[in-house]
């Protein structure tokens, strides 16, 4: 898988992300791009949901991003991911969104 080396490099450079095993991180990245991508676009530039690019989320605190991922946004199409993701995994995704182009 092409994304694995970048991810490994990222992990090595970034001890904060070390809590998630590498193969799970690969799965999470895949899920983020593909499954979040079905509403937010594969390049995160937006679709039914707003853009999730680094600059779009710049001013949103990490805790808020994590809370939105886990619990969704009521009365919108943003679903709660708590049934599918742990809090650590949501935090990993939030970090990814806020730091990676």
């Amino acid at each position: 898988m092409r994304s694995a080396p970048t991810l490994l490099a990222l992990l090595a450079a970034w001890p904060a992300l070390a809590g998630i095993p590498t193969d799970r991180a690969v799965e999470l990245e895949h899920m983020l791009l593909q499954d979040c991508g079905s509403c937010h676009g594969l390049t995160r530039k937006g679709g039914l949901g707003r853009p999730l690019t680094r600059s779009a989320l710049e001013t949103m605190p990490s805790e808020v991003v994590v809370a939105i991922i886990l619990d969704g946004i009521p009365d919108t199409a943003m679903p709660p991911w708590r049934p599918l993701l742990t809090e650590e995994e949501a935090a990993w995704i939030a970090d990814y969104l806020k730091t990676k182009e």
């Binding site: 895949h30 791009l33 593909q34 499954d35 991508g37 079905s38 509403c39 676009g41 594969l42 390049t43 530039k45 937006g46 679709g47 039914l48 969704g72 009365d75 199409a77 679903p79 709660p80 991911w81 049934p83 599918l84």
Partner: protein, 387 residues
Amino acid sequence: MRPAEFAALVFLGLAAMPVVSVAEDRIQATGSLGVVIERATGSVLVVDRANRAALNRIEGLGDLSHASLTYSPDERFAYVFARDGGLTKVDLVEGKIAARIVQAGNSIGGAISDDGKLVAVSNYEPGGVKVFDAGTLAPVADIPASGKTIGLVDVPGRRFAWAVWDSGEVFLGDFSGAEPRIEMIGNAGQMPFDAVLTDDAHTYLVGLFGEKGVTAFDLWSDRPEPRRFLTDYGKEGQDMPVYKMPHLQGWAFAEGQFALPAVGRHEILWVNRDSLEQVAATPVAGQPVFIIEQPASPYVWVNFALPDNDTVQVVDSRTHQVVDTLKPGKSILHMEFAPRGAEVWLSSRDDNKLVIIDTATRKQVAEIPAQSPSGIFFTNRAHQPGL
């Protein structure tokens, strides 16, 4: 060479395949061809149903998440609508891109007029519908909207219908005269997520996400009016999260009924086509995404949103019972039937392959490697209103 070795070679060949023109060595008719969206790589794969094979890969089409396409009446060209606003006209005979424009920032789907002359694209950003000359892709009309446009379909008489996610408004645009005439025909309700035209071009059905229900517009009428139904399905019990919006393009119209995906419920809802009364509900394995009728049969096939997207179920439209549950591969995103129903092709995104199932035995008969495949579109769609 033994068949297995040959298959392996074909497989390797595909992975690194240079684009080979289909026209080079023989005449290529297009009636058994199809186009498969490879969402992550911005490419499409031209496939041949007759030989259960991939013919060639065409690259450079942009962000193809949620991409769809429509065909020219002669089944030679596919118009591919990309998420990033790209509109690409692909020539199936030459195996190459015939024309390409980037017409908006963010788009969601499109349609071709009944006479094959106009291609319309529905856009999210900026919201609206743009219409192009099907031959040259030159702009013809630009109709802004107050939000994201969804559910764009062609309607006989060089018309198109669409809905607006943000406002619920439904529009009918008539492009048969010198100037387009755009009419708001009513409000469907909160957050229409997709819409579909019945095969007889009689009813435009708009599915709602923001509230329960589906809204029908009678397009045979001179004054179509919104008619709401299924407004109280699943009253008991908690709704479940929807990880992928259902699609309505494959809404099945079987046995005098519509088979509709319940939103937030793991159910198929059956509605009488004339009275719009619910006649049954079928509990299924997950949130339905596509419910597609197997041609010339009493069956509909359904696939599901995450986390049940490795499952496909077959439901009998007479008894409303699930008659088969299949596990064809990881992340099944789409299903497309051969026009007479003999086989169905499924895209397994995470197994990077297309799976071909014989509908008589419901057993896999072949598979074809593909990169993150999503939508599969056979050329017979060229002749169906609403597709």
